[in-house]
Symmetry: C2
Amino acid sequence: MEIEAIDFFYLAMPEILDIGDGSQDALLVRVRAGGYEGWGECEASPLVSIASLVCPMSHSACKPVQASVLGQKLTTPQDIQRIGDLVRANSLDLLQADHTLSGIDIAMWDLLGKRYQVPVYQLLGYKQAFPKTPYASVLFGNTPQETWEKARRIRSLGYRAAKFGWGPFGKNLQDDCDHIAAAREGLGTDGILLIDAGTIWKDNVAQAAERIPTLQEHRVTWMEEPFVSGALEAYRQLAALAEPVKLAGGEGSHNYYMAKQMIDYAGIGFIQIDAGRIGGISPAKQVATYAQGKGVLYVNHTFTSHLALSASLQPYAGLEDAVLCEYPIEAKPLAVEMTKEHLLPDENGQIHLPEAPGLGVTPNLEALSKYLVEVEIRVQGKLLYSTPPLG
Amino acid sequence: MEIEAIDFFYLAMPEILDIGDGSQDALLVRVRAGGYEGWGECEASPLVSIASLVCPMSHSACKPVQASVLGQKLTTPQDIQRIGDLVRANSLDLLQADHTLSGIDIAMWDLLGKRYQVPVYQLLGYKQAFPKTPYASVLFGNTPQETWEKARRIRSLGYRAAKFGWGPFGKNLQDDCDHIAAAREGLGTDGILLIDAGTIWKDNVAQAAERIPTLQEHRVTWMEEPFVSGALEAYRQLAALAEPVKLAGGEGSHNYYMAKQMIDYAGIGFIQIDAGRIGGISPAKQVATYAQGKGVLYVNHTFTSHLALSASLQPYAGLEDAVLCEYPIEAKPLAVEMTKEHLLPDENGQIHLPEAPGLGVTPNLEALSKYLVEVEIRVQGKLLYSTPPLG
């Protein structure tokens, strides 16, 4: 069977707030082949990824993403790898392409899972999907008091782990220490506490290092993204200072190599991969395998829908040691209504991947229609893209 | 003075061929502030970079590029750095942003050069611009005979150095050896011969290594991009095998850190930076300074116009040891007609940066009007972009 259609749907909340909440819009992807359809999601600027799907060719290594996907044979997982390699070669100089490919790759895995009636993790070679311990992923409160209240609420909802990030964090040392202390107090002494600095110190080791005593005192398991993804040497220096607190990072990786470099050179304890950014489930699985061999724990990065959550859990479903998973609990209605099914904690607070074919999570098209954003792109008068009907 | 306008102009040849020639289209950038204007160029998919300039915000770290530029104070080089940092933070999750920023950063340097009536290299802190030895940069011929003829022609034009790349190279060992031998024969024994593999072996060290004896026999100065930019370990392994042939790479770097990593971990002898991709002249200068400290030679990457050429030479103008410069000699009419001024070799075959203010190269708007591509982008019925008048 061959790929007959790729459809991109830009969805957005009526109002987008200037906060670090990535669940306010979404780019939903549908791939059709041989009577089957698969769904995926790009963690990307929707308009920009739409443009990269349909843009005119600039030269042989700067082609629109669809040029390497439409009409391709899609019968086996090897075809997905081959199509991904084609996109990476033919769109080598199109920077946005990795984010755009991500949703397409995810949709192709979903499609093949439905074709063969197996969950994606089995197509990836895993015999079983181990349960994961979700950490409730939230923004810091505006004040330490708000952070404390958020932590209390998370604990009362039954979560054993929580991550606080972005918001006011990183600008003032005393404020940061107060927020960390408040989070620990609210979560209780036995909770797993994670802190996300949101790249706030860019590559400044000294600024980040000032927080280490407080992180150690409050037994923070990891500090995430003190620096931008590429600042490997800054990560390595801070990692040596921070023990036993580990560093986490990698969500900015938009290909396998960037994640490999963090594992090889940055001294991190946790590698965080968003399947919606790194080029899809295929390179994410490659990272999971590499990380395991290097003693670095793989964790998903997901702050949006349960379609994205299922996609981001598949690559390390079979790794029993990698027990934590990011679990968004403050997602906007768009992200919640995105899917008919949800991956809810069981009675022990654990998250399980669906055993249904593909991703086991399907978009709720009727609910989504109210979020659909109409886009039109014309070049030399020719309509290259207009939002397709959702359904 | 404040930035009042950013205008993007998509220019293209009437027909785009499926070959590795990046001069077939262009994204010209104009920035206006305080009665001055500066010009730059993105080495990027024009439509995708236009979309990233104007797209709706997704969240606080995924904003359109223009949100961090319009209205900003622009009076000193420090303002350019500050604006670049703003774009990188506010568009952290917008992958295309680095390519888009590149043309804006270049235009800001050009503007400040005009404001202060000095060439950009002086604003960068260099006292003088040393002449560079241009290497004629061309695609391989379709046959070794064609490659030989291209090499002969380059030599007859007075170039002492030539680079052959892309085309049929990398697929068959014997063909590659024949092309390399033909290039050396055509260029003469004393010519500087460079080979560009165009990332053809992705990260396969063994395939690349098969070419080493031929590269050594024909005294090739560097082999460029045997692998994709991120494959640092593959580079390092090949570099150890290839001596005295050096490896060159880095054109894919879209920020300072990616180039730093190649210098730190890939064992390259030459770092090649395209100011139109890495985020502009600012991060390119940062790489040039870092490379010099590490004993790695900086070279520009330029395959398009002389506006792009001037921009890509400024960052290492003052480094006397870094003598080579890429010089496109097969550019399409669009790229040639792009500028009123051209950086032509002097009687000794050397290239000099203009001493005129800014980049010293100005776009020929009348000649370009026939290449202007009309673009319209609408979101929810609202016109976010339409091609502005050129002039």
